[in-house]
Amino acid sequence: MSSETRPPVGLTVAAGLGLLFLHLPILLIFLYAFTTEERTYQFPPPGLTTKWFAVAWAREDIWPPLYLSLKVAAISTALALVLGTLAAAAMSRARFFGREQLSLLILLPIALPGIITGMSLRSAFDVMGMPFSTWTIVLGHATFCIVIVFNNAVARFRRLSGSIVEASADLGANGFQTFWHVILPNLASALLAGGMLAFALSFDEVIVTTFTAGQQSTLPIWMLNELVRPRQRPVTNVVAIVVFATTFVPILLAYYLTRGGDDTAGAGK
């Protein structure tokens, strides 16, 4: 039956259009970074220039948010790596009471809308009289980054054969040596992938952050303010390109690091 191997034309066209719909809009961000028009989103751009990259570099209000975003993403990723790996190790070791509930609890911060996580944290800070700081942002970010690391680590633990751990013990290694010399090298690429995805997620997060940042500004919050009250619109595009690149590269690397397994980074669903 030829119809079973060749897709119908209509389906091919619809699938292709669907993919184009997913990808074309991003390209405009790049185009508008070079436009000479700074007050409207006129298309086609009246002229092209590269001056906005220099202007963005010189704008002093961009650097502190960038620095804060990098700091928050780095700390959150480190915390999520430790907590996510521990949870994954426990889950892969044993079946225990409340196991299903725990996996739901890990998933919940990302399954519920970000506004609930954000508003919850905001309520808690208010109840406890906690002032906003870098750490209030980190609390939120690390919480939803755990699941990313967890998903990657748990998939790798599942593929890791139990016999190599036994072999290591038979050869006289204790638990810590086995972890350092056998388990960790096998986990490394999955953890690297999970860590990069968590970093990308944290670096780009805005919904939870607006509730936990107070007066502080991360790069996405800076961008959001520019979207609501634009000043030099092409500068926002330059920053958007930076944000896009900072999240795009880790995602692509994470994909290649975990390719070939049953579970792929970020698939998770």
Partner: protein, 318 residues
């Protein structure tokens, strides 16, 4: 072979240090190790996350003193009663309708992509499709929303394309639709809907693809052998089997739309959605109890939704 007399086999090797002793301890008490592994993530999620959720619930039962504007920490249902004011019910209804429309849009646009990827894409094409859905899923949310602000602007590419192709009349007709139209696409419900569909589409495609990949080709062949047309096979075989995937995807599109407050703020009318209401009540208005009560609404809606989804078997493909 052995010059020396064979030593008796040691039952346990002598411990070489604290590492060995601890390893031995863990070996004899596996529960101890499990507890130590679980404690940090459990504490974090229990205290930070569940604790915060509890604080949210707690705050939603407080109320704000109308004269002083101070939160009064006394148990009351007054704040929840405020949700039932006409203007607040409007916000809830508007949000749920938008979430439903977005979910429908994602399912219709996403289905061909998921079906093609699951059934016909092979080898490198399969990887390309997968990456083609994964990259937009993970790339910066704000950048994606911003891109649509550029596209939908009155002076933007859509108006330009409509003029170039002589379809301005169609665009204007769409914009003059009562209720969902507006001055330009970027200030209409249609615009808000398009951006929502765009941003959440990958969340719909991935579970649909997972469900469609489990549909055995033999069933489709059997359907054809029994004389069914393509449309009949689609309606009676493929669609029912893909339904759990669609429902799984709809959990994401529905829930994410319910809670979003950025997109309606940047593209759309100034009408409020649940997310925007939460954001404004906790921020400028300083009414944390009402914001908290509003944030409970999506939780309740999602709990109902998840109960229905579970009955339909949506969790098997997650």
């Amino acid at each position: 072979m052995n010059a020396a007399p064979p030593e008796p086999v040691a039952v346990t090797l002598p411990a070489r240090g604290p590492g060995d002793r601890l390893s031995g301890l863990f070996w004899r008490h596996p529960k101890l190790l499990l507890g130590l592994l679980l404690a940090p993530p459990l504490l974090w999620l229990g205290v930070v996350y569940l604790g915060s959720l509890a604080a949210l619930l707690l705050q939603s039962f407080y109320y704000i003193d109308e004269f002083s504007g101070v939160v009064v920490p006394e148990f009351t249902l007054k704040t929840y009663a405020e949700l039932f004011r006409a203007q607040n019910l409007d916000i809830i209804l508007r949000t749920v309708l938008m979430a439903a429309a977005v979910t429908l849009g994602c399912a219709v646009i996403g289905f061909p992509v998921a079906y093609f990827a699951a059934r016909y894409a092979k080898g490198a094409w399969k990887a390309a499709f997968y990456l083609g859905v994964l990259l937009p899923l993970w790339s910066s949310y704000l950048v994606k929303v911003y891109a649509w602000k550029l596209i939908l602007a009155k002076e933007g590419i859509i108006t330009w394309a409509a003029e170039g192709t002589g379809t301005s009349a169609i665009l204007n007709a769409v914009l003059s639709l009562p209720g969902i139209g507006g001055n330009s696409l970027s200030t209409s419900y249609i615009g808000t809907w398009v951006v929502f569909v765009y941003v959440w589409l990958p969340y719909m495609i991935l579970p649909m693809q997972a469900a469609l990949e489990r549909v055995p080709v033999s069933l489709l062949e059997a359907s054809a052998d029994l004389g069914a047309t393509r449309a009949q096979t689609f309606r009676t075989v493929i669609l029912p089997l893909a339904l759990p995937g669609v429902i799984a995807g709809s959990i994401f599109t529905f829930s994410l739309t319910l809670g979003d407050y950025i997109i309606p703020q940047i593209v759309g009318t100034s009408a409020r959605f649940i997310g925007l209401a939460v954001y404004q009540f906790q921020g400028t208005a300083g009414n944390i109890p009402l914001a908290a009560a509003f944030a409970v609404v999506p939780i309740v809606i999602m709990l109902v939704y998840l109960t229905i989804a579970k009955r339909q078997g949506a969790f098997d493909v997650l």
